[in-house]
């Protein structure tokens, strides 16, 4: 349990550091992949709703505190996505690598809608047409493709944790 918490912290911190430094310079067609969201989806569909919600909350709160405009907007969106996707964990066959692609693509839209709604509620004058721009669909594809690699990584990571637990 200790080890799991420690590893979660490292995953969250490393993702935060990479996402807002290196990745900002490596965009394709002006779109930056949202690696935090991919991680939330991967953890949720592999580990279930509890871990999904926890990792979503902490990834979000870190992003909000340092590079967000209101505290809690990302934390809320990621947590709800992690929890929602985690509910589907029992129905998912885990060796199919098309699952993360599909769920990440859906999560990208859900995240955009949630975030849009929060911005709207705090008084940004935004129009619904701005939500469904072409960049959203590029991001969907981009996130989906990256999700395969992240999924494999998280899968291996979880198998490592489980094997450690069995030896003891």
């Amino acid at each position: 349990m200790m080890k799991k918490c420690f590893l979660f912290c490292i995953v969250i911190l490393v993702n935060f550091i990479i996402q807002f430094t290196l990745l900002q310079h490596l965009k394709i067609l002006g779109v930056i992949p949202n690696t935090a969201l991919i991680l939330v989806v991967c953890f949720a569909i592999l580990q279930g709703k509890k871990d999904g919600a926890i990792i979503g909350f902490f990834l979000g709160i870190l992003q909000d505190v340092y590079v967000g405009n209101v505290i809690g907007a990302n934390a809320l969106s990621y947590m709800l996505i992690g929890y929602g996707m985690g509910n589907l964990e029992k129905f998912i066959f885990k060796d199919n690598f098309l699952n993360p692609v599909f769920f990440t693509a859906i999560a990208t839209i859900v995240y955009s809608v949630l975030f849009f709604f929060i911005l709207y509620m705090i008084g940004y004058s935004i129009h619904i047409a701005m939500l469904f721009q072409i960049s959203l669909f590029i991001e969907m594809i981009y996130n989906g493709v990256l999700a395969i690699f992240f999924y494999k990584l998280v899968l291996r990571f979880m198998q490592y944790l489980k094997s450690e637990a069995k030896i003891r």
Partner: protein, 270 residues
């Protein structure tokens, strides 16, 4: 049940934290201190990779740019000579105004140079993390700019780091004047597409695309900082005001060094 209660708490926090907080908590401060130096390395290396890739793919373009820049240097050299002459004149006048005991209207600022260590460049807003904070005299709402023009203001300041929100944010507005004719003033606001939209207070004002805008000194920002260039002027038939769309002078996607203006007075009093 837990999820619902956390959701409610988060919604309350969202409501409280709109518009930035004047104080950051100890944990944030500590974690910020740890993260910012690490981020700096990654940000720099990312930039290096981007620049190398860019120069490989765009060497033709760079050659053209080079020639344009050479021309501009010639122009600027001429302007420099003129400016030096006017500066001498201005110095004379300034010493005169000192002798006559004029009241100084301009608030004086200190300058701090900081590097960007991280950024969140979404479609809807731009937020930067810089490696200078309260210890260097930065406070909330300090003005941030770079060589190209106005960037924005400080949203929250920690000990050694600060969070900067750009002028393209929908919630921060800037009052401007047209460089060509300082009587034309108005207000600009981010339109969430990386541009600014605004209107001129005088509906008869004659502005055209390409006009440069500077800060007017009426709002939070001091006078005379370049904001950007008018991209288009929209005159709706059923509206009195002229709406303008402005492209910011700063390329928000490529920012490395910034200058932060901190008020001199507050530093002396502290």
């Amino acid at each position: 049940m837990v999820v619902i209660s956390i959701t409610i708490i988060l919604i309350i926090i969202i409501g409280i934290s709109i518009g930035g907080r004047t104080r950051v908590t100890g944990i944030e401060n500590l974690l910020g201190k740890m993260i910012v130096p690490i981020q700096k390395i990654f940000y720099k290396s990312g930039q290096a990779v981007e620049n190398t890739l860019y120069s490989i793919f765009a060497f033709k373009k760079i050659e053209k740019e080079n020639q344009l820049l050479k021309q501009e240097i010639n122009n600027l050299n001429q302007q420099l000579i003129e400016a030096t002459l006017t500066r001498n004149e201005l110095n004379d006048l300034k010493s005169l105004s000192k002798n006559l005991n004029y009241v100084k209207s301009l608030q004086e600022y200190d300058y701090i140079t900081a590097s960007v260590t991280g950024m969140n460049a979404e479609d809807w807003f731009n937020i930067f993390l810089i490696d200078a904070g309260k210890k260097q005299g930065i406070v909330q709402n300090s003005i941030v700019l770079n060589g190209e023009g106005l960037i924005g203001k400080v949203l929250e300041a920690g000990d050694d780091w600060a969070k900067v929100i750009s002028i393209t944010d929908n919630k921060s507005s800037v009052s401007f004047e047209v460089l060509r004719n300082s009587q034309y003033i108005g207000i600009l606001r981010g339109n969430l597409k990386g541009e600014l939209t605004g209107y001129l207070i005088d509906p008869q004002a004659e502005v055209i695309a390409g006009d440069k805008l500077i800060t007017s000194g009426l709002s939070n920002y001091p006078k005379g900082i370049l904001i950007g260039e008018i991209k288009e002027v929209v005159q709706e038939e059923d509206e009195l005001l002229k709406t303008i769309v402005v492209v910011p002078a700063v390329n928000f996607k490529k920012i490395d060094k910034v200058i932060v203006l901190t008020p001199k007075i507050s530093k002396e009093s502290s």
